[in-house]
Amino acid sequence: MADWKTPDNVKYTENDEWIRVDGDTAKIGLTDYAQDQLSDIVFVDLSEVEVGSTVTKGEAFATVESVKAASDVYAPASGKVTAINTALEDTPEIINSDPYGDGWLIEIKLSNPAELNDLLDAAAYAKHCAARSA
């Protein structure tokens, strides 16, 4: 049975996104569980967002593709996009190798930090992953 990394310094959605707050910005990415389910990631479509545009909690802002699947990525919180991980254009596989680090997708300036309150912590998310793989 696979064992997925669920670091404590991020918050999670049930849809397998993570968000890590750093000052008034936050980075968003896909979890280790998500990258493992997708397997080799070959393409990340971030064309729907640009620096300065806004994302809304619960709305899809990107699509991540492997050979066999495509998965929409939903914003865990709302805010204005401050950075996009352009490295993913040529090396989407860094989501596989470093999902919580270099494999981040976008950085936003949170418009409503209270939205983070209903996200999952590491323990709850780990349980959520385990339940699905049973």
Binding site: D45, E48, E65, S66, V67, K68, A69, A70, D72
Partner: protein, 455 residues
């Protein structure tokens, strides 16, 4: 007769292994009141009886094998080298499924890759898919792609009235519920008129090359105007014409679609044909349908595989932009073999033959009393003849007295084109046939002068 190999002994052994008494026991789940309804169909026939029946139906048709044909309008009597059908008849090709298992499908996959490559060269595009149902549905998919590209935020599509009327009808059928608005094709808009319709709402402008009336428009400046408005340009092209004329890529098109029937596929009463679809690199991930890519196998050997699969319906389901699955694979193979054997010089030669013969025919017909041909613009293999009487009457005369299948009656689609006939001339029409057509048209004007001609 059937193709079922089972013997009585096989059947008995198999039913026993399953643990049932009879065939009927296999269908217990079907509601009893609906189970085993009578089928009111004729009794089965032997192979020779079926062949006789179909031969008799086939003989009841007037065909281009026995008659001279000057009918085109989107389907053409082009030459098909013998080699094309011999390759298509190889069971390894025609009895294979879609190449989902690449290790057992390298033949089909490489052939599609070669087809895609040739279509790119022909259209001047970067990527082509493995086919759509026909030219009309390729165009409908181009509209879908443009709409998806702009995420539905540009709801207007400009269609030239010079696009095949049936293609425009199909596009409207496809998009009856998608909220798109189609403009431009109801009157007699020229290319500059279409450019004037461009605005921030426009997703796509579509022109046909040559247009439905056979004319080659000069598209200088068109792509720039379309791109300035932020829209995409789609050119519906005839692949044989592309053997001679500038590629749509050179004209600045973003999407090129069309009917590939001319590339080695028989008339066959309208199908199966070949919808081709090609575009530029930046739109590759928005293409519908199957695409084959090059890669390697575990030993590093060059190999081919269907790629960009997550766009497709079986993976993307309701988020796929198209539901296409089965395409016209074997017809793409026909086009691939055709373009291979025609090659660089052959396709140009075919196109030149069409061009010269069409021009000869146009000049001869234009010289006839009562007929005139619009030669104001360059044209390829089709041209419009204004006739002295209804086209249907002329065609009846041509068929009955001269054994000629005449041109297309434009009044079927265009109110203002009464008495106008669209004539197609291909490399298959000899000078003798053209001269006969001219003579026949002359007589058709005043059929009472007709002297008996046997064909």
């Amino acid at each position: 007769m059937t193709y079922i190999p089972h013997t009585d002994a096989d059947r008995a052994a198999m039913l026993k292994a399953i643990g049932v008494e009879s065939f009927a026991d296999l269908f217990d789940a079907v509601p009893p009141e609906n189970r085993f309804p009578p089928l009111n169909l004729p009794d089965g026939l032997s192979e020779m009886e079926v062949a006789a029946e179909l031969n008799s139906l086939a003989r009841a048709n007037v065909s281009a094998s026995d008659y001279a044909i000057f009918l085109g309008a989107g389907a053409y009597n082009h030459f098909v080298p013998s080699v094309v059908d011999h390759i298509l008849r190889r069971g390894e090709f025609f009895t294979a499924y879609t190449p989902y298992q690449p290790e057992l499908s390298q033949g089909t996959l490489q052939a599609i890759f070669e087809y895609q490559s040739m279509m790119c060269m022909l259209t001047g595009m970067d990527a082509a898919n493995a086919s759509h149902y026909d030219g009309a549905t390729s165009l409908a998919e181009a509209v879908t792609m443009a709409n998806a590209h702009f995420r539905g935020k540009r709801p207007k599509v400009i269609l030239s009235p010079g696009i095949h009327p049936q293609y425009r009808a199909v596009v409207r059928t496809y998009h009856q519920n998608t909220g798109l608005k189609f403009v431009g094709d109801k009157g007699s808009a020229t290319i500059p008129d279409l450019v004037d319709m461009l605005d921030d709402d426009t997703a796509l402008l579509v022109v046909q090359y040559p247009n439905f009336f056979g004319q080659i428009d000069d598209f200088t400046g068109l792509a720039d105007a379309v791109h300035r408005a932020g829209a995409l340009l789609c050119i519906v092209a005839d692949p044989i014409a592309l053997g001679l004329f500038k590629s749509p890529g050179e004209w600045g098109a973003d999407i090129v679609v069309g009917e590939g029937q001319g590339l080695g596929i028989p008339l066959s009463f309208g199908g199966p044909y070949l919808g081709f679809f090609a575009t530029r690199t930046e739109y590759v991930r928005k293409i519908a349908g199957r695409i084959v890519g090059e890669t390697v196998d575990a030993d590093g050997r060059r190999a081919y595989v269907m790629t960009l699969r997550p766009r497709e319906q079986d993976i993307r389901r309701e988020k796929a932009t198209s539901n296409i699955c089965t395409n016209q694979g074997l017809m793409a193979l026909a086009a691939c073999v055709y373009m291979s054997v025609m090659g660089k010089t052959g396709l140009r030669r075919v196109a030149e033959l069409c061009y010269h013969k069409a021009h000869y025919a146009a000049q001869q017909i234009d010289a006839l009393d009562g007929y005139s041909v619009d030669m104001s613009k360059p044209f390829f293999k089709e041209f419009v003849v204004t006739c002295p009487k209804p086209v249907s009457e002329i065609n009846e005369f041509l068929l009955e007295h001269w054994g000629i299948i005449g041109g297309y009656d434009l009044s079927r689609d265009y109110d203002k084109r009464e008495n106008q006939m669209l004539i197609a001339v291909t490399e298959m029409n000899s000078k003798d046939e053209i001269d006969s057509l001219v003579e026949a048209l002359k007589e058709a004007k005043a059929p009472h002068l007709h002297l008996s001609h046997e064909h």
